[in-house]
Symmetry: D2
Subunit: 347 residues, 4 copies
């Protein structure tokens, strides 16, 4: 089978580079075009990008000439890793011109006609694109990095027991800040107790993702969420300390079983980037740890541990997930795989 | 005035060394004797201790011969930095033998006759020592490092508005783990989501400290506390993400004013180690930060910031305090100063 | 083909764990027995070991019962990851009893009858074991972590141009210190300018490895080496800043070509753990970097960069290599593969 | 005595902020004016600067209105913390207009009429300003951060024994890179083996500083220097691994005595920022360490340790110095103090 050509917008940035790294040797997709800002356009990708991934830059991408982010790409399937400051306008242009845009930017996440997707959580929401008024094109979005890990852990619990409220404090890695987000001096031997816009995303995005689609619109979930977000001195892997109040408190064993037995469409359809298990619970009280568990399932699995009673909520627990794989580039690719498997891309 | 001779038990450990560093050139106290384990006893302190403080080992302490931790010290005032595994027995022996023991260990913190003191918070609780059945001796204790920062920030709020519940997630420095608590590989580029016994201390100690003393016993405060404790890769300074529910919600301005105007006995009595202000609120959303604020007030001030509404509790805020100064050695010294000023030591 | 059973001595320590991790799914070898100290003996490995690797403990090893390190193993091939304090006596006992011991400990490295092997550098030295007076058993040793990376980079230069002197300053990762070597407080936000015994190893081991074997003894290489060794705050990957004086100075191009074209027995025999290229030169002035390059070639390749003229020596350059893979466990396994391929194990 | 008004150019950058922090409560100087780029000019300093120091921004500076960097300052004494990209032109304008400019920028360091000063090393070189063709103004420069620590340690050795060659490998802190020099992801869990222009500075600046002034020009010292420079993950404090070849090898005791007995003009004149001892040797093999020793002498003392024989040079040793205090802002202030004490400023 011929691979499907895709284009990447924002290809020189940190999420763009991670997409290139993860799409190298992908079973279904092949990077045929890369787009970036005017200053990069016209240059070879190897010159335009300051490559910051640990693996080597793939040769075939290195030799692509960077294009402007204008809708004259040959590839009809577009991964957008654009910065939010420009993503809104450019993604819209592409969608209008018939491109199928899978975006990692925040701009359209709360557009009533745009799905906000975690493939294991709300695969059915992709049908919302039918409400979009573009002929062949559409926009579909990937949630924020700290949202994805959290909601993957919440999904089986919401389904089986019903969640009333969630309280979460994050310890987030610096790779989530992008290349120029923080200087090395800021975060070294330090904690930064504020990440602009992050708490708002973490309090609101789960409600859309866990909501239900009916009559062409999403009814948001009725969960009360409070979030506190911190940046700490760690390369990769977000840790989230979570408290949960259920509609009816299940046993500890039932909660753990819900996590460990959770599988969904991506697992059943054996999508190339789907981990065998999206959520794994560890009994050891010193787990999860970001350095130990961030690469679990190729960086696509959420590690959970320390489930224990809470004097205020029902339970406390801790999760760790890879913020640039599951939480960004890998999550976007899994959405594309889901779309292809369900016939929305080339079908 | 002649300085008051004091002895230090557990003088070679990390809290012991910090006590020595902070008592150097102290206005009132002079280290006359140091005690440690049998393997150290009989050696010069400079040989027995693997000095890990950033300042140089004080010459006069370097030349002291380490004694066994037996109650034959000449100094009647004893700072105990002993490990909990031995502190219980030894401190009791000293108290029985007429020594006034100010302890940093956890062993007697919940003994009904032993005060658990933060000098700005519950100075009156020192009267509880009158209930102890030793002739001249007594035991008085300093709380856990993460407790002290938190309760200092809570005290003016409890006094003025009444607290119903507290939810707290900590990001704790490695210096709190003692010299041998963690290997460097454990915590580097990592988060350890579990600190043995820490959550229990943080949920329980504030209730005694904020309780009221009447008829020779302490009535614990009726506050519901839930804690989650993490070790992160930072040298010094604990950060705590706090949520608070009041009996009646005050305005944001009133809360900030309560912190910034808070002073207590140590400030009014101008104790040598008392900071001018025990709590300082910072308006900048990126504050507090442990590297920037841990040395505030000589490491004795708690920095607070990010007060904002909470969808679940009334408010969220973040605090940072120096875990080995205010949270351990400095806190112990301030208790001794309070005792002396109130006539309990040499009065 | 049936896999070859091997035993691991010192299986609960950091090198032992890395051996277990790397031998998981090995093409030729299967861990059949694990040995450790008396306190661990008799327990299941999963209980005896505090597993510190990032990947999960392999199930089959988890269920092995830990044995004492006495020569009653069924497996005749033994990997020793013992601490130097006990390795000497135990390894000798095993060799006398007919076991083929491949050791990572330093004890026998300078025994005149014991080969000190880097498979790409001095594969022929394995014949030195014929001088050992054990019937079937022998001892063969793996060099120190900082030696291996350096000598791999030196070998093609010594062969082609002849080396007169080497000056090297190291920046070494903490994983090389073993689990209990350093506390996290020591090295965080710090440099430790001294590693006991390390400079001596780095100045002396290369001379034996690059020496020539004739008449049953090794004639040490006549290179003058000076080393300075530092521990820095990094998880994995040793960086070495090297200066070299040749017998006759080659061109920069010739040096780079010597590195990039270097292959040896392990590559030609396609040993399972052999990297495609043992040494790779990077042109980018910001290379090599330990985080980016330590996993090159599965952690078995040495990354080199920054070759430039030196005002004192002929050239300066920088190398990075993975200290626990190529520099310890992986290096040991590659020796075993070389031995098997040359008929010294089961042949 | 009234304090002397000074102006600071580049006041919002990292060196500018450190100058402001160190000049707070200075015995002789008072910051009367601050200059920065056009985008900052006209704003209050508290708004224009993103304050990154650990101590609080001084109130009096916070309320200064930032000026453009044009020579219309009232203060005749100017500290320049300008970036090299603009320092050349601006400093020249100020000097021509009669300002006395003490610069931390590299632009004029090798101008034959501009002194490059470390007050303890070459105080007499300040007379070189007499060769400058400005009426009242002049330019005087402070060396690079890694140069200053090294040359302070070399000066007493050069004076007493004569140095033939120096080989140095640095492990430099990130604070030396300025606020935007490195992203936090670059350096975390990593080493960057290249700092643009740094090795050239370190090989060349010492020759001018250790040179001799005669007939209005400096005769460079005849020392052969080779440098290798690395950036590591540490907040403050440069470590330098040094090898030295003397004209005639002195004993180890003589070298250590030369360091420990070294004092110079700043100590004899008791300049406010002069440390009691510019160089201190530590016997402990684990010293010097940047976290432990960077604040020695208020950050103005160089810590030295590990003096030992070298197989290639005469000796090896390690030094640590505070890169933003002695190596930048503090060094600049000490030059100004020297100038004032010698009558070059207000005399």
């Amino acid at each position: 089978m011929d691979k499907i050509n895709v284009g990447i917008l924002g290809a020189t940035g940190s999420v763009g580079q991670k997409l290139i790294e993860l799409l190298q040797d992908h079973a279904w997709f092949k990077i045929a075009e890369v787009g970036a800002s005017e200053t990069s356009a016209g240059k070879l990708y190897s010159y335009a990008a300051t490559w910051a991934m640990n693996s080597a830059m793939p040769d075939d991408v290195a030799n692509l000439t960077v294009k402007k982010c204008a809708p004259d790409f040959d590839s009809k399937i577009i991964f957008s890793a654009l910065d939010a400051s420009v993503a809104g306008e450019i993604e819209l242009e592409f969608a209008k011109a018939g491109y199928k845009v899978i975006s990692n930017a925040r701009n359209f996440r709360f557009d009533p006609k745009v799905p906000l997707i975690i493939p294991e959580v709300n695969p059915g929401h992709i049908n919302l694109i039918r409400e979009q008024n573009f002929e062949d094109g559409f926009i579909i979005t990937n949630p924020n990095c700290s949202t994805i890990g959290l909601v993957l852990a919440l999904k089986p619990l919401e389904d089986q027991f019903g969640i009333e409220s969630i309280n979460v404090t994050t310890l987030q890695a610096i790779s989530g800040a992008g290349f120029s987000g923080l200087t090395s001096l800021d975060v070294m031997d330090n904690v930064i107790p504020y990440i602009k816009g992050e708490e708002e995303k973490l309090e609101r995005e789960p409600l859309k993702i866990l909501g239900s689609l009916a009559d062409g619109k999403i009814d948001f979930a009725g969960i009360n969420i409070s979030a506190q977000c911190n940046r700490i001195s760690i390369t990769d892997g977000h840790t989230e300390c979570v408290q949960i109040k259920f509609r009816e408190k299940p046993s500890r064993e039932d909660v753990i079983h819900a996590w460990n037995s959770f599988i969904a469409d991506p697992q059943e359809m054996m999508l190339p980037s789907a981990p065998r298990r999206p959520v794994v619970y560890f009994d050891d009280p010193y787990s999860p740890q970001p350095r130990k568990h961030r690469d679990l399932g190729g960086g696509m699995t959420v590690a959970v541990g320390r489930l224990r009673d809470c004097p205020i909520f029902d339970y406390k627990f801790t999760i760790t997930s890879h913020n640039t794989v599951r939480g960004a580039a890998g999550g976007t690719i899994l959405i594309a795989e889901l779309l292809e498997a369900k016939g929305f891309l080339t079908g």
